[in-house]
Every structure is written in structure tokens, then in C-alpha cells.
Amino acid sequence: MSEPTRESGAPLLRIERLSLALPEGADRLYAVDNVSYDLKAGEILCVVGESGSGKSMTANALMGLLPTGVHVAKGRALFDGQDVLAMDELSHRALRGRRIGMIFQEPMTALNPLMRVGEQIAEVFEAHGLLTPRARRERALALLEEVRLPDPTSALRAYPFELSGGQRQRVMIAMALALEPELLIADEPTTALDVTTQAQILHLVKDLQARRGMAVMFITHDFGVVAEIADRVCVMREGKIVEMGEAREVLDHPRHDYTRALIDAIPADVVAAVGRPADTVAAVGRPAGVVAAVERPGDAIPPPRDGTDSTPLLSVSGLDKVYRSSGGWFQPKREVVALDGIGFSLGKGETLGIVGESGSGKSTLGRCIVGLNRPDSGEIRLDGVDLSALEGRALRAHRRRIQMVFQDPYASLNPRIRVGMAIAQGPIANGVPKAEALAQARTLLATVGLDGGAAERYPHEFSGGQRQRIGIARALALNPELIVADEAVSALDVSIQAQVLKLLDDLKQKLDLSLLFITHDLRVAAQICDRLIVMQKGRIVEHGSAREIFTSPQHPYTRELLEAIPGRREAPATATAGVL
């Protein structure tokens, strides 16, 4: 197959006034509305947008992967001079995999669970009738080596379930690159990965791109990722391009308000961001002497902890939890250590962040504290009372003092219960008359910034951010002293994240709450936490004030986590260099 020659300077891919129509009854007419952009050979273009912006749709159209109901309304997509959208199936198929490769968001589901990794890579050659079976295997092995998969020989014979998420994403990349395509489309390829893995994959993509000189269309919601790899950026919102330009230019001088909001929502410099949302609130009325609570940028030395003037609200010691799966009659048991000798304390009015990647045990810790899980051993004392020793009614009486805000705004509200009732249920279960509880629910809705009429509506009528506010109102209904927020903003778009974080922080001040904030995202933790605990494999590897941890991390794992934050290296050098 001879490659048509391209005049130098002409873009590899040119999208011309493309509009993709959504099916009838959708919330807008077009998924992508009159969009035009170019992608030159050897260039990395980041298409950025929040969920529903239509950022992936153009790529899907290019690959013939549009969801049912969505169709091309007008416009062209010229790949190397040919309109991909007007091609017949056969010539389009010859293009896919061969000249355009694609990788997807979910590495856990993007590979066929019943086929060995090697077969799935070899299939790419087979699809285009290339090489002998033997040569295909050899190429597959070479590709796995190239994407730096540990032990590529055995990986070749492995089934996808035997690989980790990051490893599967490497396999996906190997597959997409097998035929040395001129264009690689990467649709949020790192969103489902842990931050350290994300950094490795980004590095790999950039490295391969440079070595092979291919063009990359990188679709993401994260400006941190943009700062890390993009040559040029295209910002999308509700199907339209709001801003496009050189990455450096857009990052440093965003012209559009929306772009600015997105960039601001993700602080490129975590140190400068420490405690930021709280700065907008007057830090008054805090109990004096509370451990580390008054720390803000500028307070160089945290006040010494003596613990004599106030007992901590929550103190945890020696917490262990092992998950055992009983394998049936004869099968071996599996054990996963989720918590291993965890101990810390949390003062009144303090926000403590617990940071870790998936599998670190951070969520288990939160669940043990609120009482959804039972630790194997150890103490959880709330105002001196050991909760882990309580049972039944006594436990229920104490439960109301610790409430939780959950991760998934869609799963955290019962679809069949009106919002007002969802909030009032707690007080009702604790003996408050129904009418009174419902009235109180309306007040709470106002507190979290929703109007009282919301009480009569069902959860599906609200957006993700609004639901999260409802979840917060529900947690407040029982006048708790401690709120555990488990990844409470992780499922939200970045612009919404900032609002919810601010709300949490405001409420904390106003209601004199303590907050245990569990997150995988150091950038989020930086914005709200006074102190941080870093967890890895069920253990606390480091704890200290937020500032200490960001400026002078002691443990290598913490350093690795900080290093992995996308876009960090792009941060103004002064802030970090001054301290390190």
C-alpha cells in the first residue's frame, strides 16, 4: 500500500465545520456543533472539556464508533486529504488500526476477557492481512517490550484479568501502535488510572510519539494533563470550541472565561493552593490551640502539639482490618490487608485529609470510622468513647455524631425517595416528628444553597453537583460533629468540584464541624486540608501539616505521588524551589 504523498505543511487531519446530530429528545441538537480544527503530523493536540462537552465525539466519528442515534449532520474530516466520514466501510476499515490507532478510557473492559494478550495484539496484523502467524507473535512481543511491560514473554500468554489496570493500558497502547499509525487517538486513557500510573502512561505516550513522529489527538478533562503533554489545545464546551491555541499560550493566558475557570480549578502549583478555598472565609471563631488547624501559608512553624488543653474529637489507634474471601470448601482463602496498625487523631474544627491511591485502604479507614465496616482490632474513640466496642442501640445513638458524604452523586440518593424525605429520614429514625423533620430539611437545603422547593422533587431532577449538595444536607441533618467525606468531589467536573469544596469548607466554619477528607487527588486535598495523612497498602507512610507534606515530603512514596501530579513540572519554579 503506497502512501499518498502529502504536501509539506498540510495537516494530517483537518476537521471542517463538523456537526454531529444527537438523537431526538436529547438536551441539545448537536453533540458537536460546527467544529473545525487541524492536526499536523508529529503534533500532540489535546481536546479538553468536561463531561458532555462532546470532546470524544469527533474522535468516535473518525473511527466509525459513534453511539447509535448520533450521526454526521454536516462537515468533513479529511485524513491525509480523504474524507473519512464519506468513505465506504471497506476503505474505512483499512484505515482503522493501520493508519489511525485508538486507545480508550477503561483499560479494565477494553480488552477481550477470553483472549490471551498476545492473540489480541496479533489480531491487528491479521485484520490487515499482514505477516505470518509466527512473525505476528514476534512483533507482539517486541511491542510489549516497547511499551515497557514487565516480563513481556509471560504477558504475551496472559489473559487480561491477570494484568493490572496500568499494564492493560500498556497493552492497549501496544495494540494501537502495532502498525505504526500516523495518528493516535487517546480518549481519556489515564482517567481510570492511579496518579502514579497515569504519570507513567503519559510519559510513555509522549516518548513513543516523539520516537515515531506520529500525531496524537489526546482527549482529556484535565488541564494538568494538558500542561504535561500538549503542543496545542482545543477547549470544548457544549459541542462548541471555545478556545484553541498553543498549549503554553492557552495555559498562561487563557482568553475565554470558561478556560480560565477550568485552569483555575486545577491548581498547577499545589503548594500555592494549600488552604485556598478557606482563604475566602474569615478564619475566626476557631478554638485556640487546635492541632495544626490554624496553619495557613505563611505560618511557618506549626504550633507544638501537646494535647493537654483539648482532647481530640476523634482518636484512632492500632486499627487493623484484613479482608478474607472464603474460597468455598476446598479453595484457598485470599487475604488482603486493608488497614495495618492505623493510628491518628483529629481535633475539633480541623480538616484532616487522607490521601492514597486505590488499594491504599483509605476508604476502608473511613468506613470503619463511620461504622459501615468493623475493624478486626483497634480503637476508634469519639470524645473518649470507644465506638468499636459498642453494639446495637448504644452504637446507633453515637452514630449520628459521625456522618458521611459519599462519592457518587448518582448512587448516593435513593431514586424513589423525594429529596426532602431523604434528608428527613435520619431525624425521623431518631425520633423527631415527621413534620418537624421535613421543615428542618427545607432549612438545610437552603443552607447548602438549594431552594426549599427542591424538597418536593426526586433526585434525578438534579445535576451531579446539586446532588452532592443534597448529600451534604443529609449528612448535616443529624447535627454531626464529624463529617467523613469519601472522595466527595471525585465524580464531579472540575468547575463543580471547586464549588462543593468551598461549600464544605464554609459549613465546617459555620457549624464548627470537623472534617475527615478522603481523596486520591492531592490537588483537591491541597485546597481544603489542614493536615494530611498519606496511606499506602494499609499503612500510614507520612503525616503532617498540609504545607509540610507538599513542601518537604519525607517518605519516597509521598514524593512519588507529588511528582506524578500532572502539570506539576509546569508550575512556576519559584514556589517549589524556594522550599526544597
Binding site: 463511620v370 461504622g371 458521611m404 448516593s412 440518593l413 425517595i417 429514625a429
Partner: protein
């Protein structure tokens, strides 16, 4: 889009609803259209349909009116189908709910029990139960219920297993709702759609089971049923084909209608799944 609109979009479901309506009407009108017992001999045997006016579906081996049998049989089929399904739900829903919600040893025990009933070939079990308890409407309903509850229990358990870890259920635990309230108010209402769909299909299966039992001579000897009519016509198939064809078509249409309605309900109650199809 609301429930009725989505249901009405499925043309098959509407057809099913109409057929089902006609069968129900026939069953309700049976005592008025044919006030006499369907067992009474009214004419000479083996009249072909339309041969003698007033007996538009003919007469059977014993000179009984086939149309009267059909009408009274409709009543029996629907009644047994409905009641046995209700009984099966009454066994399956609580067992599945408890197993799914509490998990652990309770789940193990209840599921072993369910598996046991699922492993036994269910038609053979129904035969044995009815035969030994003596055929009667009661024993037939009981037997059908006993063989059809395991899928309900498994379905409800599965739903409970997935819903009990949803965050809204955990939130309900945290605010101190009792297990009873959580099961009844939080989880159960969210399992209803699939249970309703399953129930509509179970009525269909129950009607088939009842007719099969009657066919083998295990029907209630006091009530006329479609299965019995086919069974009685088996030996005279060569002489009088209509005696087996007519009640067979009646069963087929009723069961078909229930299945169509079930599919319509599925589309209407689980819109996101319907779109995926």
C-alpha cells in the same frame, strides 16, 4: 416519557394486552355465557365446529360443549396462573431479600435451600407433588408455586446484593434506620421493576405448567381445564383434530399474550435497557 407511553411504543405489547383482555373477558363472562356445568353432556359427541348451530366449536368425545369448556377453562387457567404466581412471590421475595441483605451464613443457608429446589427437575417435582397430595386446585397451585419460586428468590437476592452497597443504603444505615426500614423502604421499592416483569412471565409459565399437569390427568377433577381437554382428545386425534387444536390455540394465545405484555413491561420499566436493544 412516562410508563404508559413507553409501553404503548411496543406494538407487540399492545397486541398482547388486547388478547389478554379478551381472555380475561371470556373468563369473567363464562358463568353468564355458559351457566351450565361444562361437564354436562348436551349433544351427540364428535360434532365438528359449526355442524349444529349453538355449538359453534363442536362437541367432544362425551358430547360436551367445547365452547363452554373453553370459557370455563380460561377462568381456571388465569386463576391458577395468578394465584400460584402470588404464592411463589410470597415465598421467593422474602427469602431473596433476607439472603441478599444479610449475606454471610444466612445467605449461604437460604441459597443452598434455593439451589436444591432449582436442581430438582421442576416438572417432575410438580407431578410428584400433585400425584401424592391428590389432584385438586389447592395442590396444583401449591405445586406450581413450589417449583417456581427459586428464580424469584435469586432475582431478588441479586438485586439486594447490588443495591445494598449503594451509597443511599449506607447513608440510611448511618442515620440509624432499622434493618426492617432499610429493607422495606430503601431497597425493596427499587427491586420492583424486574420482579414485576418476572411475575408476568411466571403467570405464563404457570399456565403452561397447569395445562401440562391436566394433560397428564393431574388436573382438579372438578374443574374444566384446557390441558384436560387436550389430554382427553389425544386418543381421538385422527377422528376429531379440532378437539385438540382449539384448546391448544387458546393456551398458545394466552401464554403468548402474557409474554408480549411482559416484554412491554420490561421496556417500559427499564428504559435504559430497552434502548440498548
Amino acid at each position: 416519557m412516562n410508563f404508559f407511553k413507553r409501553f404503548a411504543q411496543n406494538r407487540g405489547a399492545l397486541v398482547g394486552l388486547v388478547i389478554l383482555g379478551l381472555v380475561v373477558l371470556l373468563a369473567l363472562l363464562a358463568p353468564f355465557l355458559y351457566p351450565d356445568s361444562p361437564w354436562r353432556m348436551v349433544q351427540r359427541p364428535f360434532l365438528a365446529p359449526g355442524e349444529v348451530s349453538g355449538f359453534w366449536l363442536g362437541t367432544d368425545v362425551m358430547g360436551r360443549d367445547v365452547a363452554a369448556g373453553l370459557a370455563h377453562g380460561a377462568w381456571v387457567s388465569l386463576l391458577i396462573g395468578l394465584i400460584s404466581t402470588v404464592v411463589a412471590l410470597a415465598i421467593g421475595v422474602p427469602l431473596g431479600a433476607l439472603a441478599g441483605y444479610f449475606g454471610g451464613k444466612i445467605d449461604d443457608a437460604l441459597m443452598r435451600f434455593t439451589e436444591f429446589f432449582q436442581t430438582i427437575p421442576n416438572f417432575a417435582l410438580a407431578i410428584v407433588l400433585v400425584a401424592i397430595m391428590e389432584p385438586s386446585t389447592f395442590s396444583i397451585v401449591l405445586a406450581i408455586a413450589i417449583v417456581s419460586w427459586p428464580p424469584v428468590a435469586r432475582l431478588v437476592r441479586g438485586e439486594f446484593l447490588s443495591i445494598k452497597h449503594r451509597e443511599y443504603v449506607e447513608a440510611a444505615r448511618l442515620v440509624g434506620q432499622t434493618h426492617r426500614d432499610i429493607i422495606i423502604k430503601q431497597i425493596l421499592p427499587n427491586t420492583l421493576s424486574p420482579v414485576i416483569v418476572l411475575a408476568s412471565l411466571m403467570v405464563a409459565t404457570a399456565i403452561l405448567l397447569e395445562s401440562s399437569l391436566s394433560f397428564l390427568g393431574l388436573g382438579d377433577p372438578d374443574t374444566m381445564s384446557w390441558g384436560y381437554m387436550i389430554g382427553a382428545a389425544r386418543t381421538v386425534m385422527r377422528q376429531a383434530w379440532w378437539l385438540s387444536v382449539i384448546p391448544g390455540v387458546a393456551i398458545l394465545l394466552t401464554v403468548l399474550a402474557l409474554n408480549l405484555v411482559g416484554e412491554g413491561l420490561d421496556d417500559a420499566l427499564n428504559p435504559q435497557l430497552a434502548r440498548a436493544r
